[in-house]
């Protein structure tokens, strides 16, 4: 039987590769590889051999030109040694093959700035939105309630009833679109998968610190129309066991953390559709 294979790209300032890979394994992937970007650029590792691509958290190139900007540029222009293609060609093929990409935090910033999200009508590589400095002007590490949009096409959120409780850890997480039309379309198509909300997952909120960055319409996560590409500012890989929860010593919690469901759904999707 074929294996469900996940890849986590690291290098140049990616920081969450260990826990992202751990979450993939717990989620049910048979194989998970942490690949340094140089492994991809030398052609030693190819995206084609995987089903689930994790673009995870960190500070790519120090976020020096704005979060993830330099990596977006690198992925666009860098050639793969020994192969007659750019890395972006592999990435486009990966998407066309119906495979999954999850961008978390810096990975979400990267996806949005490369144009992988929202990518209306499959127009990948055209940027319509961005993630910019938090309204509070500071990096924040705090936990947030994320109300799920049940009607979203995301393949990752099956079984999420009300929402998830996860940490955010970013300075540039404020979601902004290029136009009202873009926002309207995101709303109409239910692409805003998670929104910052009150503790009961009742209503989206613009209030700090529940909404830690001032995102438009409290959007914390975004998927494309196929639901296979998703990006989110909160860190699902940071809550896969109850001891990750900030109040685990005082609340009755299940053994598994809220974030794990996203990885389980990804593995299930791969098994059902890609193997």
């Amino acid at each position: 039987m074929a294996n469900a294979r996940a890849i986590v790209i690291t290098g140049n300032g990616t920081n969450c590769e260990m826990e992202a890979a751990h979450a993939c394994r717990l989620g049910g992937f048979d194989e998970t590889v942490i690949a340094h970007i140089s492994d991809l650029l030398t052609g030693e590792i190819r995206l084609d051999d995987f089903h689930f691509l994790n673009l995870t958290g960190g500070f790519l190139d120090g976020d020096d030109l704005g979060s993830a900007k330099a990596q977006a540029n690198r992925l666009r222009y860098a050639k793969v040694d020994d192969l007659a293609e750019h890395l972006i060609d592999q990435l486009t093929r990966f998407i066309d093959d119906g495979k999954l990409i999850l961008g978390v935090c810096n990975g979400f910033q990267l996806m949005v700035k490369m144009g992988l999200l929202p990518a209306f009508d499959g127009q990948y590589l055209q940027q319509n939105a961005t993630l910019t400095f938090n309204d509070c002007g500071r990096f924040q590490d705090r936990w947030v309630y994320l109300k799920v949009d049940q009607a979203s096409p995301s393949v990752y959120t099956k079984g999420v009833e009300k929402g998830l409780y996860l940490p955010i850890r970013h300075g540039e997480g404020k979601f902004v679109a290029d136009s009202a039309a873009t926002i309207d379309r995101i709303e109409a198509q239910h692409l805003g998968v998670f929104r910052y909300s009150d503790a009961a997952y009742g209503a989206p909120t613009m209030e700090f610190p529940l909404n830690p960055n001032g995102s438009t319409n409290a959007i914390a996560a975004l998927c494309n129309e196929t639901g296979r590409l998703m990006g989110m500012m909160p860190h699902p890989e940071a809550f896969v066991h109850r001891t990750h929860h900030p109040r685990w010593t005082r609340e009755e919690l299940s053994e598994e953390g809220d974030g794990l469901v996203l990885f389980k759904n990804a593995a299930d999707f791969v098994r059902e559709n890609l193997l």
């Binding site: 969450c16 260990m18 960190g58 940490p167 010593t249 005082r250």
Partner: protein, 996 residues
């Protein structure tokens, strides 16, 4: 011709950076700025075609959704004044480096030598202000003129010259590779002048030892063979000065001290380090016997202990005080990325698992006049917090534990303690990972950043007090991404066995790193002309001692070299072969074909005679306050909760990523609203295991005003009791000592040096006494001995400060306990006795007193109690546990209650008392800081089991957790002496630093 690319926010876009600057202008400088907007400027000094420039501006350098760009067209408009701030030539420009790489990806060709991208930021100020106000804004807020420069234009000037003129902050100069010789055959005053003017920080005695070396005919003959005269070269003198600096050699800790106690008893101490610190570890290890878990102590960049059979734990804490005083952001950033390299350069190299930070500042609200050259404490606070934030967050290392300590004497020198722990496999390639060796013939390889003039004389400069002429080049700016790339690469190279030895390039640069490595095999030959430079114009001595950041030095066996270099290239890491290790006995440095330094290793590392010092102790009596007895202490408690040393530091802590790497178990904040202060951190370094690392610390400089012996005892006890509070095991726990002292050597500048030295001796004695008693081996540490400011008129000395860091293990992290009360009805126990020990307390400090009755640690009582508490925690009998420290019982009660969201009722009559009955009072029971106490809550159904585990120890049940959200304390007379709602107490605790 250089081109200016400007990036501005689109109309109506929110400018968070500008808003912050506007608030700061108003808050600090009281200038009414109505608006501040910002523009990013990239000055591109490279041969680019027009379409390449457009691509650069429109793609990587700007965000089309929120920004606009222009080339050679100023975007600024609608302002009263414009300030553009850029870096001075040669200062590390991280953003410029990233921009350059981005452009190289676009063009597909590397920049030519001398080409570069330089960044600056424009601040567009609106409001009623004079040019002199803007000067002040630029100088005191926007720009640190040590490393940055600025241009101010008003709207008229701006229009007249069509924007800000292009300027390229490129280092110009040519490499002449000059080597000077210095004549040491001179009079003593001349020797001293050479040392002083060269920032060598060598004493007359040391200069004379060097003079004698060069007079030795045998030395002369040897030197002749390699073409050198009998005069030392600048490179040699600099290398000796670095190696012998207080910073590198710890002369005070290794010198001879005559100590005289308060009764006139004399004692000869040969090396504080050997007599107390090393001896502690030796004695503890002997006592541990089979259970000894120390693997590598005091000999490497960090200490190594066993975590389990498969993994070793590495830990180091450093300080970076002097550079931080000059440039808080760069100094602190370099502090954190610098200490990262210590565990990384320990043994064969450790993966970095977490950081700890402790800062000591003067009040950010300080309002008294400061001597020139000293930055305002608020600026230091802001800069340090941001520097460590960038250093830690960008490196992907969680900051899990720390403190902010305030005392106005830290205006003279802020203290920035940065710690980093790492994890490494116990064995790599079949050999213990904490052991490394060098074979003659191994190649000297340097990886990472390039060498510039940054950080020249850092080691010697920090070995002197801060003064008006402290060198600018002593400041460096760290680059976490260059370092992260290097560590990503080196960890892989380690696992492939591509090198034999690794160490950090820190203080003293190559002269120290390669110099120390050369002692491993008995010599080296290194060619400085092979070292990659940031820009031309460095003389060999500068290359040798530059402290430019992000560099590791390695010994690579010749047969592995090709693979090592090829892998470095793939990872985008620069690696250069600088020479080879030998067994010649000589530290032999070349520049091209010419020898520039030829120093016998025996002389370089063994030639320094021990310093002779004297310490005389006297007991100082402080005024003992006599406060009237009060009927109600609620206001006192709230005032204490709002004092800087006790209040919440959440606004700072939330800026640090404490969860990256996915192993967070006990976070800095806990409780029902995630805002109660944890005692210690627990993390799981291996994600599929529940074995945890526990880290905590103790620091209490206020007690030094009474007696550094007890200051030290309390710091050790505080570190350990924090550690025990969350569930740390007493079978695997180690300590690290960081001494930050004011100059303790008597001299003209330090007439009270003998007292300060006695303080140091007493601190060391306590370190030995209490660590041995608690069975805590010291595994590493550091001292920083010149934390004074002196400008000829004003002298500010910091209070002697010991940071005691504690690291150890919790076998099952799922057993960890947090400090917040869990449910109404739980019984509140106070473990340990309380005495009239208000000397040096926060309570006295609030009223401007020091007092005399400093808390004393009783290990014989505390240690068995800690063991029993650990047993109770492991057995699951403890619902919550909080240590008592600053502010005593009252503060601990309040914190526990509001963190848990429930009230507490306690009766002071049930608190166990030690000492004279007559001294027992509500105030002492509430606010005394007696050591070794914990406040614990236990479910009623666990009461018997808990009491049975604790039996034989001093503890008493003093009250109960209540559903009503009020802290209520009954005094000795039976009346209520404290009563307040928990949300009021929390507000008092949270408000002081909330907005910083």
């Amino acid at each position: 011709m250089a081109r200016r690319i400007e990036i501005a926010l689109k109309e109506g876009g929110r400018d968070a950076r500008g808003e912050r600057v506007r608030r700061e202008i108003e808050h600090f400088l009281h200038v009414p700025a109505t608006q501040v907007r910002t523009i990013d400027v990239y000055t591109v000094d490279a041969g680019l075609a027009e379409d390449e420039l457009v691509k650069a501006a429109s793609e990587p350098l700007s965000d089309p959704v929120i920004q606009t760009w222009s080339i050679d067209q100023p975007l600024a408009k609608g302002f009263d004044f414009l300030v553009e701030v850029g870096l001075r030539p040669g200062v590390t420009d991280n953003v410029g480096r990233t921009a350059r790489e981005a452009i190289e990806y676009i063009t597909g060709r590397p920049f030519a030598v001398g080409e570069g991208v330089y960044t600056s930021v424009q601040y567009l100020l609106s409001g009623t202000m004079a040019k002199s106000d803007v000067e002040r804004i630029a100088r005191d807020l926007l720009c640190n003129t040590l490393i940055q420069r600025f241009v101010i234009l008003d709207a008229v000037e701006f229009a007249a010259q069509n924007g800000v003129p292009v300027s390229v902050p490129k280092v110009t100069g040519e490499t002449r590779a000059q080597v000077r010789e210095i004549d040491l055959d001179v009079a003593d005053e001349e020797l001293l002048r050479i040392s002083k003017e060269g920032v060598l920080a060598l004493t007359l005695d040391e200069m004379k030892v060097i003079q004698a070396h060069y007079r030795d005919p045998a030395v002369l003959a040897e030197r002749k063979k390699v073409g050198l005269t009998g005069l030392p070269t600048d490179a040699e003198l600099e290398a000796i000065a670095q190696t012998w600096s207080e910073h590198c050699k710890h002369k005070i800790f290794s010198g001879n001290i005559e100590y005289i106690d308060e009764n006139g008893n004399r004692e000869e101490i040969k090396s504080l380090f050997k007599s107390f610190i090393q001896q502690t570890t030796k004695d503890v290890r002997e006592a541990l016997g089979e259970r000894d878990f120390c693997l590598s102590v005091f000999k490497d960049n960090a200490g190594v202990i066993k975590f389990n059979d498969d993994l070793s734990l590495v830990f180091k804490v450093e300080t970076h005080n002097s550079p931080t005083a000059l440039d808080p952001y760069g100094g602190a950033l370099t502090g954190i990325v610098g200490v990262n390299r210590d565990p990384f350069g320990t043994g064969k190299g450790a993966r970095l698992a977490f950081n700890t930070d402790v800062f000591c500042f003067a009040s950010p609200f300080y309002e008294k006049p400061l001597p020139s050259r000293l930055l305002h404490p608020r600026r230091i606070y802001e800069g340090v917090v941001e520097g460590v934030e960038h250093g830690g967050n960008k490196s992907g290392i969680p900051t899990v534990n720390g403190s902010l300590v305030f005392d106005d004497r830290f205006a003279g020198k802020p203290l920035v303690f940065c710690g980093t722990a790492g994890i490494m496999p116990a064995e790599i390639g079949g050999e213990p990972s904490h052991v490394k060796h060098i074979n003659p013939g191994d190649l000297i390889v340097m990886t990472g950043g390039r060498i510039g003039k940054d950080g020249i004389h850092g080691a010697t400069f920090s070995s002197e007090e801060l003064n008006e002429n402290s060198p600018v080049t002593a400041v460096q700016i760290g680059d976490p991404i260059t370092q992260k790339r290097m560590t990503d690469f080196l960890i892989r190279a380690r696992d492939k066995g591509l090198y034999n030895f690794i160490t950090d390039n820190g203080a003293g640069g190559l002269s120290s790193s390669v110099g120390e490595m050369a002692t491993e095999c008995g010599g080296c030959r290194m060619d400085l002309s092979k070292a990659p430079l940031k820009y031309p114009g460095l003389d060999p001595w500068e290359i040798l001692i530059s402290e430019a950041q992000e560099r590791m030095s390695l010994a690579v066996p010749p047969e592995k070299l090709d693979e090592f270099l090829a892998m470095a290239k793939r990872f985008g890491v620069e690696a250069s072969v600088l020479g080879e290790f030998t067994d010649s006995g000589i530290f032999h440095i070349m520049y091209g074909g010419r020898t520039v330094a030829y120093l016998p290793i025996s002389f370089l590392h063994g030639g320094l005679p021990p310093m002779e010092m004297r310490g005389v102790w006297e007991v100082k009596r402080h005024e003992e306050p006599a406060f009237a007895v009060k009927g109600d202490y609620t206001a006192d408690l709230k005032e204490l909760l709002g004092s800087l040393n006790i209040c919440s530091k959440e606004s700072v802590v939330r800026r640090y990523d404490h969860e990256v790497q996915g192993g967070s178990v006990v976070k800095p904040f806990t409780g029902v609203a995630n805002d109660g202060p944890s005692d210690a951190a627990v993390i799981r370094p291996v994600l599929d295991s529940f074995e945890g690392v526990v880290v905590a610390h103790g620091i209490c400089p206020r007690y030094s005003d009474i007696d550094t012996y007890h200051m030290t005892a309390n710091a050790i006890d505080e570190g350990l009791r924090n550690y025990v509070a969350v569930g740390g095991s007493l079978d695997l726990v180690a300590g690290l000592d960081n001494f930050c002292w004011c100059d303790p050597v008597k001299s003209e500048k330090t007439p009270d040096g003998e007292y300060k030295m006695a303080q140091l001796v007493r601190s060391n004695k306590a370190l030995y006494d209490y660590c041995v008693a608690y069975g805590i081996p010291l595994i590493s540490g550091k001292d920083s001995m010149k934390n004074d400011f002196y400008d000829g008129a004003v002298k500010i000395s910091i209070p002697p400060t010991l940071l005691f860091s504690v690291i150890g293990k919790i076998e099952d992290a799922r057993k960890a306990v947090t400090m917040d009360v869990k449910r109404p009805g739980d019984i509140v126990y106070l473990l340990g006795k309380t005495g009239n020990e208000l000397g040096g307390s926060e309570y006295f400090a609030l009223r401007g007193f020091i007092g005399n009755s400093v808390p004393k640690v009783n290990v014989a009582k505390a240690f068995p109690r800690y063991r029993a508490l650990h047993r109770a925690i492991t057995d699951g009998l403890v619902a919550s546990c909080h240590d008592l420290s600053d502010g005593g019982l009252a503060v601990a009660l309040a914190e526990k209650a509001f963190a848990g969201g429930y009230g507490i009722d306690v009766d002071l009559g049930r608190v166990l008392w030690m000492g004279e009955k007559a001294e027992k009072s509500d105030a002492a029971l509430l606010f005394s800081e007696s050591a070794s106490r914990h406040l614990v809550t236990v479910r009623p159904d666990k009461r018997d089991a808990f009491e049975s585990v604790m039996s034989g120890n001093c503890f008493s049940s003093i009250g109960v957790v209540t559903a009503e959200g009020t802290v209520s304390v009954t005094g000795l007379a039976g009346t209520t002496v404290v009563r307040e709602a928990i949300n009021e107490l929390k507000e008092a605790w949270q408000s002081p630093l909330r907005e910083l």
